[in-house]
Amino acid sequence: MAEDGKEESAATGDSDQPAAGLDSTMVEEGSTLLRRMEISVAEAEKRSGKNSVNMQETFTVYLIETRPMDAIAEGRNPAPDSLWRRYSEFELLRNYLLVTYPFIVVPPLPEKRAEFVWHKLSADNMDPDFVERRRVGLENFLLRVASHPILSNDKILYHFLTEVGGSLSFQSRTADSRLRALSATFRVRNPDKRFVDMKHYSDELQSHTSQLLRARARVADRLYGVYKVHGNYGRVFSEWSAIEKEMGDGLQSAGHHMDAYAASIDDILEEEEHYADQLKEYLFYAEALRAVCRKHELTQFELEMATQDLVSKKQQREELATGIVRTFSFKGMTNKLFGQEAPEQREARLKLLEELIAEGEESVKEKTAECEEHVEGGWVDMQRFKEQKDKDLREALINYAIMQISMCKKGIQVWSNAKECFLKM
């Protein structure tokens, strides 16, 4: 995949890419960015530099290349525009998107640190295999964002892809505070049932994908052991063949096949990592889905608070106007005990209240609109996400089955070869 990163347009649904769902379900009517522009993350390089606390550090940067689609369609082959960005910049972009489009299930980034590793794989961020898989993951992220009907039109995204800019850092401060709000706990009275169900589903998706990833890593570990131990046969057959006359040749060659068998597991498991990456993408997607549901709860909560506040203010006004105290209030008590206030004060207070009520009504109207917009937009995008997920995961499972078949065929081949050798003993 690294080799053809440059020329391949992932928009054509290259089957190597995990972003296999980039066809009619994602690229909708209206021009998404991907239709107009070819995007790829072509390379990765190590850099050294000083970080924010003036300490020397090594990090990896990724080359983002873009080319206008119409030029390619016309057969011209212009040189791509390119710029280098590091992982943390991708993170900033994503946080910005999360905050700006709270009702969209924002595509996830590849994992920051290697997790769910089986023992042979290194958990080191600088490991070339890890970097390579991350490059692919980042490209996948950009392609998904650029083919989203709403996200792809974002200006900041465009700048991210085409300009070296500092505009991202400004956004990061607001992003942090709003993200923090998402993790606060609060009780909502009337959340939209569909969102409650979706949140529950997102928990399930997260739990199942992470369980699967862990189980798969353990299986990979064990399978590795089985294959590698067979390599010992190679050695002992070779030693044994030295003391045999007629049996020697057959044993020796069979031994070589056992060695080949033991060696074959490395490639097999390397390939399986792609499957694991696809699962991981949806593990992180589950989080994004959950975030949309949480955002709904937040806006609904704020609406409920605002409504509640308005109701209580209106009540206060009524009490003030009619002098009838319906509910207990401290002011009411003190009034009773120490006598009522002067009419001018009452007037002033009433006026203030009216202003507050007017503000409150505006606020409620705003929040209701915001809530409705969020619910509508969120529901549409969640449906879109569901379709994409079903399609992608189904394909991932089919590809997994194909991988297993290939592994079985290799196994049959090796053992048949060994059997030939044994028959010649």
Binding site: Y201, E204, L205, H208, T209, Q211, L212, A215, R216, R218, V219, D221, R222, L223, G225, V226, V229, H230, N232, Y233, V236, E239, W240, I243, E246, M247, G250, A254, D390, L393, R394, L397, I398, Y400, A401, I402, Q404, I405, C408, K409, G411, I412, W415, S416, A418, K419, F422, L423, M425
Partner: protein, 456 residues
Amino acid sequence: MSVGAPRGLASSGQKPITEILHPLSAADEPPLSPVPDVTVGGHNPSSGAADKDAGLTNGTPVETSSPASASSLFNRLQLDDEPDADAEAEADAHDPYASTETRDLFVTVDDPKKHVSTMETYITYRVSTKTTRIEFDLPEYSVRRRYQDFDWLRIKLEDSQPTHLIPPLPEKFVMKGVVDRFSEEFVETRMKALDKFLKRVADHPVLSFNPHLNAFLSAKDLNKRQGLALLTKVGESVKQVAGGYKLRARPAEFCAMGEYLDTFCQKLGTIDRIAQRILKEQTEYLTELREYGAVYSSWAGSEDELRRPLEGVAGSVSSCCGALEDLSENMSQDFLPVLREYVLYTDSMKNVLRKRDQSQAEYEGRLEAAVLRRQEDRTPVPVEVEKCQDKVECFNADLKADWERWQSNKRQDFKQLLTGMADKNIHYYEKCQAAWESLIALLQDKQTEDKTNETN
């Protein structure tokens, strides 16, 4: 059923052997028909070949290439060349109707049964014999024997044929707490080993004519056969030899044999350890694989569109688990026991080599003493010394013949064992491949189904 032989004979000799139908003559009968229990009382081994002379082989003269041995070898080679032969096919290989002009003794061990008495519980096996040899009164026998009886036979053979390699028996003692002596697998494995033992003895050109074998195969009640009047050569027999004899010069070929056996034994041990390790890894892999499949199932529960694909994957994983179980079982039931039995066989061979060394040492010792005496007082070399020399030469000849046979058998046995192992692995992968291919077929059907629904 019976090929016309009179049943229930109280004693031998009622019908001359020439009138009893040759087992091969009943060409339409199925090969391994169950033989009824034939009561034979008061049977005496007709050959009466009591060992007269220490160390000389009884019965047939020693020939390295007697017709019986060459052809039985040939038969073995022919039969074992079948590609799908595995250990069990050995039993089927002794088809009396297949290339049999020179084979005249066929034995089988099968049908294990548990016997419970107040004193003990034990297993007996049916030992069936078909033969045209004149040394046997009847053409067919079927008796029940227990492990003890096989061991008795082995000891008797070792005693009466000290210059020959006696095939080994499976291990006598098993740790009571560790292995279930009455479990199906254990009994099955042991039975196969006993069958192999008996077949090897029956195929041996010299051992197969041993009267103890005759008794073992035909006598109704073995243990009570004290009156068989066979001399046990305790005085002459050398059981486990401690070794360490000072030899003038061990002939090179026997040195080579010894070295070969040492290395071979070592390699067998290594292979055993590797196979066990593989089994262990496979078991752990199986455990993880099962859990892995279960996760797919549980995930399917929370999906709708993806339910079928996920359940499909869980199903395929489960099929692979089953296939793996079969493979592992096979390795531990068939592969490992045969491997271990060869270690025992190698030990037996080594033992025979030691006995040969001892016999040569004895001869050299006596010769030296005799030469010294002759030098002193002109006493001629006594007859015993000459006999010793004969003994050594016979021993060497027997050993060489047995060695060749052993080597040839070893080659066939290992060819069979290893191709069997390869076959089992191939079958395992074939089963797994089928499981995954059926999943893809299932999913792709659904896909085309969906597509037609979409376009409608």
